[in-house]
Amino acid sequence: MATRLREITPAALASAALAALVLGALAAVAIRAGGLTGLRATDLAAIRFTLWQAALSALLSCLLAIPVARALHRRRFPGRGLLISLLGAPFILPVIVAVFGLIAVFGRRGLVNAALAPFGVEPISIYGAHGVIIAHVFFNLPLATRMILHGWEAIPTERFRLAASLRFGPAEVTRHLERPMLRAVLPGASLAIFLVCLTSFAVALTLGGGPRATTVELAIYQAFRFDFDMGRAASLALVQVAISVTALLIAARVTTPASFGAGHDRTSLPIPQLSVGAGRATLDALAILLAAAFLLAPIGAVFARGLPALPELPAMIWPATLTSLGIALASTLVTLIIALPLALAATRHRWAEIAAMLPMTASALVMGTGAFLIARPFVNPTSLALPMVLLTNAALSIPFATRILMPEIRTLQADYDRLAASLGLRGLARLRLLTLPRLARPLGFSAGLAAAFSMGDLGVITLFSDGQTRTLPLALFQLMGSYRMDQAAGAATLLLTLTFALFWALDRAGHHADPR
């Protein structure tokens, strides 16, 4: 009993902290507003649109990710590792930068329309509900692909060998190996994407083409800023949390652990018999090429647009870059320290999973205001600036880190719990000898994401900025805000390069630390 208690204590503490941050903030806003206010007809329309676009974005991202992940799993080619890392780039870009990349490719004057024009094809338009979906798939396909690819890699090679020696055809492989893996991975992946899209704001607005694409987050913004109605903002924020928790419970219900049993721990290599056939090879090549083109063209456009402006960047960009790097590394550490115990507990305790996802469900606007209201009576909020930047960045990465870790932790627990128990392996020894090495890959990926998030994060610093301290994204936004679009593009290229380098280094470090 005492051991059990000690095992869940870190997770319980982390959960309590996150719950206090999110729900406490919401409560503080509601109290300050003197209670919740009823919603309007336009708010209900916003809720409907938000649900629709988030569900569709999640569904499409996951469906498209399956062939891409399978192709990447089955094929080996030079540059595969780099490609897999590069495909993650959209997810880690600051939104505004990515939107400009998408416009450069799919916009009125974009590459696609330029290519279509000579054939007399009607120009395509990215503005409208479909544009929002395209953008969300662009952002989240990488996440889904990576999560599913991790799932594939977690199937022990022995199972594929067995399948090959039993002369399984594609249908049998799908039924006995791939489908159980997908049942374990897909609900979590769709949930994560659904939640990301649920709180979408800038993407939905910029590409939505007008007020028809109003999301709940924008409605909250409007309640706060346009109507000065904090009560309605709190009500809407509560609706967001309720939707998220419902989605979470549904996802948890349909998730089943794959439990393939432990293998001999060889790197999961493709088995030739299972991937031959000209048809399959063509399909795999097509999936990889299409995904790469879709994901990398906008990134390439952003990179190329800013390249000429790099030498003209103002000197202030360099201290801003250093600040960003420092914050990113520190916030990555905090993310891992909180996410790991949460993820370890979350596979057994639903409350830990819900707590881990909470930061994602809350409206940033409401959370920020609430934290301010809570802190004010006790301390001068200004003295909390740096810790708050760090914590908020970390809090927003924790849901992703937890989601990425959970499927592999389930496998780890199913495969090694009995062995570890019979050896009396527990506590720190278990962490060092079993948990950390086995989770090296998802940990590296999570760390990469957390660092990239923090690096590309615009908002939090603007709250704490005294006008002199700034991060790279803030500098970028300030350049844009003062007509200096070319220099801003240069800053975007720099940001893109550094963010990706950080992500790549941590992700690779995870791969190297994996004993398999």
Binding site: F226, A364, L365, A371, T382, A385, T392, D466
Partner: protein
Amino acid sequence: MKTHLMLAGALSLIATMAAAEDKPVLTVYAPDYFTSDWGPGPAIEKGFEAICDCDLKFVAGDVLPRILLEGDKTQADIAIGLNTDVTAKARATGLFAPHNEDTSNLTMPVKWTDPIFLPFDWSELAFVYDKTKLKTPPKSFEELLDAPKDAYKIVIEDPRSSIAGLSLLLWVKDIYGDKAEQAWEKMAPKVLTVTPGWSEAYGMFTDGEADMVLSYVTSPAYHIMAEKDDSKVAAIFPEGHYFTPELVAQLKTSKHPELAQKFMDYVLSPEFQGMIATANWSFPAKLPHDQLPEVFQTLPMPDKTLYLGEDEAEKLRGPALDEWQRAFAK
């Protein structure tokens, strides 16, 4: 992706590590663009510190929401960069003190009598286009509305999140009154998209994605002066253009009221006013025409200026937003 919203979240637990210096500190809340290296903030700080024997500290962020949350415990001595959309709300708090400045000789097209909120610069809304690309720009608001839907694509800002967008709402309402919704219905097919803020919209215009952008009559001045590029032009409409001043006010709760008043005096001084044109790309509120940079003296300007007073704007913006939403929903 969501975090940048916190910018507006009024949270603003801002890093003004209270300077442990002997000089009194004057705390000025200002919008983020204002304090950046390219805004007027740094020069103002230097200029004022040279005459005040004090330490001027900017706190950058969402000015009014932060003050509203802090109430009478606010650290702010001065709030600068307020827009007319928030003055009614700000006034109602009773937190702001009169500016005590003579506003009878401001160089603005609108007579200013507000005793609390003092304008330090102004511009007027305009649709900006590239004359080398757009051969048939609209010559009036009417022409813009009546143009065929593929004549040009315009990008505008959302009135719910941007002051430019909100001012456009009032501009249309002022010209078209009861017919505003029909006006929006005519404009909607030409609106490429609606962005959260000015930066995104203007970026889409300079990237060539949009033919026209809702910006200001003073925007071309930046391109002419900083980039030696005279292709960007503001379309001037005979119906009149909407007036957009930026305001400054002092707080009643200031611990250094004399310093705060001194800052208000400084705002209308020739030194401060002389910096505005090229630091904020707008017209100073009090500077004779012949003292403006030459480019500003020769900018094409509308003959007629439109401006709804605070009360009327406050009354109209709710219904006007509904009309706007309805027109775009069709």
